[in-house]
Each structure stands twice: as structure tokens, then as C-alpha cells.
Amino acid sequence: MIEVDNISKTFGDTQILFDISATFMEGKVNHIIGGSGQGKSVLTKCIVGLHEVDKGRILYDGRDFSAMDRRQRIEIRKEIGMLFQGSALFDSLTVEENVMFPLKMFTDMSKEEMLDRANFCLKRVDIIDKNYLFPAECSGGMQKRIAIARAIAMNPKYLFCDEPNSGLDPKTSIVIDNLISEITYEYNITTVVITHDMNSVMEAADNIIFIYGGKKWWEGDRDGIIKTDNQEVIDFVYASKFMKNLREKLINS
């Protein structure tokens, strides 16, 4: 479980996050949604320690991450897997080497053990016989799946996914969403997904946090987001006419 307790973040004179508190439950897919520039990526970067918070605490299963120094954080970081928007696979390494990378850095495994683990993770995301390809030789969907394989290589307790569907077609998006959900439930991971893709939210979200103007504006589940009367959430989720009509039909039915 990850608890975010009253965190704020300012860049120069601009305050991006205002006293955000939230709980991301273990074994659940927690979605952070919101429009562009509302602060959801900054919030995530604060949670994983890429940005330091000005105020507040971040607790990983009760361990105060924000109060730790760089060395102490390494132990928690070993428990974190992250899927980046652009996959962030290392260009100079093959698919297999990318997945083996965290194992090589942080475990005493032999090369055979690392290979076994890498092959297991790649198989789990349906990447077979592509071990010697370089990331540039793989499609966007494949890159995302390889990045998931790398993220789960160390058996993480926490998985962060930054816009996992960006740049993917709807069918591949659903494959990625399902994969993230399956892995979350299978390994009882605390998963946090940052997205503005409503298909993804309706497909996979167990818990939804809506960020607006750097504040936590709304929290609920898939049912709640359909029925909410929060105007900002409605404007975001039902931005198109099609979605507005759909909402009316859903509510009327």
C-alpha cells in the first residue's frame, strides 16, 4: 500500500500540487486521471522520488520514503517497477539485456538464472523469440510489453505505469491494460496508472483519483465516475458529444 499524505510541490513561483492525500491499495489497479498539465505526472514523479516534495509524506507500507536519503531509498526502489510513457528501454541493449538489467545491477544471480528469469518475464508478456532484437526493431506495443517485463523482473511490490496506452491502437491498449491488471492481481502488486485514456479507466481501474488544478478533486470507482455530478469530472470524462449521450443513456437506464 502507498499512502500520500498532504503533499505539495512548487517549481519556482508556480505551485503544481496542493496538499494531495491519497491511498493506493495493494492488489488493486489505482488510476490517476486528469487533463494535461493538471499535475498527475508531477504527482507520480514525487511518489517515486524523481521530484522532492516541498511538504507532506509518502509512505510505502508505512515506510516514510520522503524522509529517507538516497541510500535508504535504494531498498524501496528495488521494490518499484515502472513503465514509462515512451517505454524508456535502453537503446543500446537487446530485449533480453533490458529485462536482465535490474537483475544484473541488484542481485547475485548467475547468468543462467538471470536468463531464466528474463525469459519467464518475457513469456509472461507474450514476447517470445525476440530476445536478441534491439528496442528500435520492436513495435510500440512490443516495447510496452518488454518494459512491463523489465518492470516485473525484480518481483516488484509497487508498479507505476505512466500513460501505458499512449501511442497505441485501441486493441493493443486493451492488451496492455489487461496485462497490467493480470499482473497486479497475480502478484498482489500496488499498481498506480497515470492516464487520460478513459477506455483504459473503464476497462481496468479499481480505484480512480481525479486531479484537477494540482488538487485531488474526486475519488471513486468505475461506477462512481459514471454517476458523479462533479462538473469538472463530467467535463473531463464526457468531453465528446458521443460520451455525453452515452452518459445520459446510462443514467436513464
Partner: protein, 219 residues
């Protein structure tokens, strides 16, 4: 990782350095010969000047300036691309010290091995001077060799002076390039800008360091 960097940065530069050095030495000897109109100056002076110019300045400084362009832009754009594509963030989140992991092998390998590249350059430049002069009939092999050996007992330490400079230049080229690459912000346009800034800054730093080291060691 260290040997990958030695291969990627140092070994891969040898063909370019070899090509440049041979022609650089050839031109130094031809220009020296063309400007020696006094009959009082012996022909072996050409070999002597070629050797001294090559060891003192052309091989360490000119080759370092050229490598500041080749290696500096390569490092800055590689690390800059890793920054804008979040690969450095990925390293950080895994708990890897990205500065140590990415920069240290590049800086150490270049600082240690650049002097060897410069030694190769010195040899090839002198060979280039010999080929150019003998080929154009300006002097004989024997005369050139006499020039190369002239005053060697007092000038031998120029090699150490040159190699000392090269160690400093190697450090400057890689550390400046790593810095500009690592602190790239934005997208592909900024990667290009970082690469240009790295080359310009490294070139200026080399020239300033060259002046300071020469002042300290030679004057």
C-alpha cells in the same frame, strides 16, 4: 561497461586520428620546407620542426579539438537522448546512480586512453611528414631522420608535457559532454543544442587549459 566505452570512444576514433595525423604531418613538413628560403638553415631543420610542432601542439591539441567534436557530440547526444526518452529516470527509479553509471566509465576510459591515441597520432604525423617530403623530393630520408633526432636529449620531455595536456583534455572533453547531455531538458531539438554547446564548451576549455598548462610547464 568500461571496455565498451574504451572501444566506443577511443578505439573507434583511431582511424580518423590516423588519417588526420598522416596528412597533418605531411602539410607541416611541406609548409616548413616552403618557408625555409635561407641557405643558412640546414634541410634537417624541416624534420626537427615537424617533430617539435607535432609533439608540442598538433597531436595533443588539434587531435583533442577534433575529438571534442566527434566524441563530445556523440556523448552529449547519447546521454541527452537518454534523458529526454526517460531512460535516465528509469535508471534512477531502479535505484541505479545514473551519474556514476553513465558518466564514470566514459570519463575514466577517455582520460586514461586518449594519451595512447595521441602517441599514435605523433608517430603517424611524423611518418606523414617523412612521406610528403621524400615523395616531393624536398629532402632525403636521412636528412629527415637527422632532423628528428636533433636536440632530442633536451626535447624528450616534450612528450610528457604533451601527454599531461592530453590527460587534461580527455577529462575536459568527456566531463563537459556528459554534463551537457545529462542536463538536457526538452526534446530532440534540445539534444542537438546540448551537443553543440558541449562541443563549443569543450573546445574553449581545451584552448584555455592548453594555455594554462603551457604557461605552467614550458615557460
Amino acid at each position: 561497461m568500461f571496455f565498451d566505452e574504451v572501444n566506443g570512444i577511443v578505439i573507434s576514433s583511431i582511424p580518423l586520428v590516423a588519417f588526420l595525423s598522416v596528412f597533418m604531418g605531411g602539410v607541416i613538413s611541406l609548409q616548413t620546407a616552403a618557408n625555409m628560403s635561407s641557405p643558412l638553415l640546414p634541410d634537417y631543420t624541416i624534420g626537427y620542426i615537424t617533430r617539435s610542432s607535432t609533439i608540442l601542439e598538433f597531436s595533443p591539441t588539434i587531435i583533442s579539438l577534433i575529438l571534442a567534436g566527434k566524441v563530445g557530440s556523440n556523448i552529449a547526444s547519447e546521454i541527452g537522448t537518454m534523458r529526454v526518452t526517460e531512460q535516465i529516470d528509469a535508471l534512477e527509479i531502479m535505484g541505479v546512480n545514473s551519474i556514476g553509471y553513465l558518466m564514470a566509465p566514459k570519463i575514466i576510459s577517455t582520460t586514461i586512453f586518449l594519451p595512447f591515441v595521441v602517441i599514435i597520432s605523433m608517430v603517424l604525423s611524423i611518418v606523414g611528414g617523412w612521406i610528403a617530403g621524400v615523395q616531393s623530393g624536398l629532402y632525403s630520408t636521412n636528412t629527415y631522420l637527422i632532423g628528428l633526432r636533433a636536440f632530442w636529449h633536451t626535447d624528450a620531455w616534450y612528450v610528457w608535457y604533451a601527454l599531461t595536456k592530453t590527460v587534461v583534455f580527455g577529462f575536459l572533453i568527456t566531463s563537459i559532454a556528459c554534463y551537457f547531455g545529462y542536463y538536457t531538458k526538452g526534446g530532440s531539438l534540445e539534444v542537438g543544442r546540448s551537443s553543440t554547446k558541449a562541443v563549443v564548451a569543450a573546445s574553449v576549455a581545451i584552448l584555455l587549459a592548453n594555455y594554462v598548462i603551457t604557461q605552467l610547464l614550458l615557460v
